[in-house]
């Protein structure tokens, strides 16, 4: 097994230094700013937890938070089952299998702003195939003017962009299931649904945890795609937390509140990741005598 050796720290030092430089120093800065009111480079006042109080009571923030949660949970609700279904439908062997893998992986390697651009074009009712198809069905569709349309487009865009990640993760999980399980299920006379429920789903537990965590985190941090697609509009309807923060920090240069907001943002993500992790571990354990 592993041997005890504190000199292993030398091997870890580069990583530690790099990540510390990239993480600790900035975070300290953020914490620092979050408790001060900054008027200018040399003009600051310590204000304690004032920004935190203000932000937590701010209507816009609360609405933004709500918007973000609705978005992230909607994403999970659609992408996880869809990803599992696609993984089950994918061919496991042969040339068709690698071709399918390549096609599925493609959306994952597109720069996020280009994803926004693609859908910006695709969704337009005048020059985009998608927009034209939808209006041809008789629906009045305009993602730039109508909040509902904007939301729908952002959701479909994210599903288009990221479901493949869930599908590929589940695919690798399914591939790892030994044939013997399917053979035994056949001998036991199990239906396809029973095979899914008792053989495949339990074995996908670990993979699904990773998928849920990744999708939750990344959807909670989403920035480029909706920014390029709708710019956050119409109004504030598709302005998610990252954009709000970016506006505060770099746009308005409100360093204090921005910093406080940053920390609250980070903590929420950590909290929910922890919640998801423990919940899924518990579900996995089930009930025992």
């Amino acid at each position: 097994m592993k041997t005890e050796n504190n000199r292993a720290w030398f091997l870890v030092l580069p990583v530690f230094a790099l990540v510390a430089f990239s993480a600790i120093v900035p975070l300290m800065t953020v914490v620092n700013y979050s408790v001060q009111d900054i008027f200018g480079p040399d003009d600051r006042v310590f204000v304690g937890a004032e920004w935190y109080r203000e932000i937590l009571q701010d209507d816009r923030l609360q609405q933004g938070l709500l918007r973000q949660f609705v978005f992230s949970f909607a994403i999970l609700l659609i992408e996880i089952p869809l990803g599992i279904a696609v993984a089950l439908a994918m061919p496991r062997r042969g040339r068709l299998a690698s071709l399918t893998l390549v096609v599925l992986a493609l959306p994952l390697l597109i720069p996020w702003n280009v994803v926004g651009t693609i859908w910006q074009i695709f969704g337009r009712a005048d020059i985009g195939l998608g927009g034209v198809l939808v209006t041809a069905l008789g629906v009045d569709y305009n993602y730039a003017a109508n909040p509902f349309d904007a939301w729908a487009t952002v959701l479909v865009m994210d599903v288009w962009h990221w479901t493949s990640l869930v599908a590929l993760l589940c695919f690798s999980g399914l591939k790892a299931i030994p044939d013997a399980y399917y053979q035994a299920a056949k001998i036991d006379g199990a239906s396809a649904w029973a095979v899914f429920r008792f053989v495949q789903l339990p074995k996908l537990k670990n993979v699904l945890l990773i998928a849920v965590l990744l999708r939750f985190m990344d959807s909670f941090m989403i920035y480029s795609e909706p920014f390029v697609l709708t710019g956050g509009g119409p109004g504030n309807s598709t302005t998610f937390l990252s954009q709000t923060l970016a506006r505060l920090a770099v746009g308005q240069f409100d360093l204090g509140p921005a910093a406080a907001f940053s920390l609250i943002y980070f903590l929420i993500i950590l909290l929910f990741c922890w919640l998801f992790y423990t919940t899924m571990m518990q579900l996995g354990r089930g009930s025992q005598q």
């Binding site: 030994p178 053979q183 025992q288």
Partner: protein
């Protein structure tokens, strides 16, 4: 119950098998008698798992038929075949309780709950699983989970044969014995046909009533462990069964005797070489424990040079060379063995003649 008959079964994993070497299973016919505990023995890659999967219906043979009690089941799917299979590692539904695991095959066949309960209680008794019926199967140790796999086969009333594919592979060595004994008990209680695939000859010889030995896609002998030891039908069986394996010396034949290094050796059956043809390859086979090692010239024997002595405590294995090849002789642990020359005496009743690797003569009775 089930008498399983294999009629001219052959299988190739390649789309268009061209020559013999392309076949994982060469054309074979065999009958598995009802209620007998068989071991299917052979080295890795000899085709035993292929044969097992064809019998259980998980694999469709390239050619040939499988019959259960005279009924052709070759085209029947696995779940209609009245067999159960236990795999190399425990295949258990981890999220279900032990009870639900055992109930699963019965519920899928719409058996009434009351009957399910009584069947499970019976089987759990036999397998010593009664105390953990309510536990989640995923929490148990591998030997218990392998018993659950067995149990799922035993609960079904329509099962006539259970096929085991090297089921003790992942079991801890100190638990293997108890599991093997349990299997024996199960066989005695249920009187089912059991077919137990293994590459371990000790396992096969201790467990089975009859052992079927496979080699390169063919069944080379199906016999009692005793017959396998005393009358191997194929040189492979001679090598594989017994430790150390049988001695084989290239020889000539002349007038009812084998001739090794110019010495005539009488055989168990002096008509063995009848029907000889040009180009036949002859070998003389004798087990190490039947040979006698002497240091004074005997009336009949072959001179040898002793090259190596291995001391096993209760016995010694002496390796010696003759003109026709190497020999191993088993002697008592107390014997003094000097290096140098000696003589080996071949007892006629245990001297067997092999033509092109197959046993010949009246003694070749145990052929499949």
């Amino acid at each position: 119950m089930a008498r399983i008959e294999l009629a001219h079964l052959a299988h190739s994993y390649l789309g268009k098998p061209a020559e013999e070497g392309d076949y994982a299973l060469r054309p074979t016919s065999h009958v598995w008698e009802d209620g007998v505990a068989y071991a299917l023995l052979g080295p890795s890659g000899c085709g035993k798992t292929t044969l097992l999967n064809i019998m259980s219906g998980l694999l469709r043979p390239t050619s040939g038929r499988v019959l259960f009690d005279g009924r052709d089941v070759t085209d029947l799917p696995t779940e209609d075949r009245n067999i159960a299979q236990v795999f190399q590692f425990p295949v258990v539904y981890d999220t279900m309780s032990v009870f639900d695991n055992l109930a699963f095959p019965l519920r899928n066949r719409k058996t009434p709950e009351a009957e399910i309960r009584s069947r499970i209680e019976e089987v759990a008794e036999i397998l010593d699983l009664a105390s953990c019926l309510r536990q989640r199967a995923g929490t148990l140790a591998s030997d218990a989970r392998q018993k659950i796999s067995m149990g799922r086969g035993l609960v079904r009333t329509d099962v006539s044969a259970i096929l085991f594919d090297e089921p003790l592979t992942v079991i801890d060595p100190h638990l293997k014995n108890s599991l093997r004994r349990k299997l024996g008990e199960v066989h005695r209680e249920s009187r089912l046909t059991l077919i137990y695939v293994t590459h371990d000859q000790t396992e096969a010889l201790t467990f089975a009533d009859r052992v079927v030995v496979m080699h390169e896609g063919e069944i080379v002998q199906a016999d009692t462990p005793q017959a396998l030891f005393e009358r191997p039908a194929h040189t492979f069986v001679g090598h594989f069964v017994g430790s150390p394996g049988m001695n084989f010396l290239s020889c000539e034949v002349d007038g009812g005797c084998a001739v090794v290094d110019g010495r005539r050796i009488r055989l168990a059956d002096d008509t063995a070489m009848d029907g000889a043809k040009q180009g036949d390859r002859w070998e003389l086979g004798v087990r190490p424990m039947f040979l006698e090692l002497v240091f004074e010239r005997p009336t009949e024997g072959v001179p040898v040079r002793i090259t190596h002595v291995e001391d096993l405590g209760s016995s010694k294995i002496v390796t010696a060379t003759t003109g026709g090849g190497n020999l191993k002789v088993r002697v008592g642990g107390e014997e003094e063995i000097r290096d140098g020359s000696a003589w080996v005496v071949f007892p006629p009743e245990q001297s067997l003649l092999y033509r092109n690797s197959r046993l010949c003569g009246k003694s070749a009775a145990g052929q499949p």
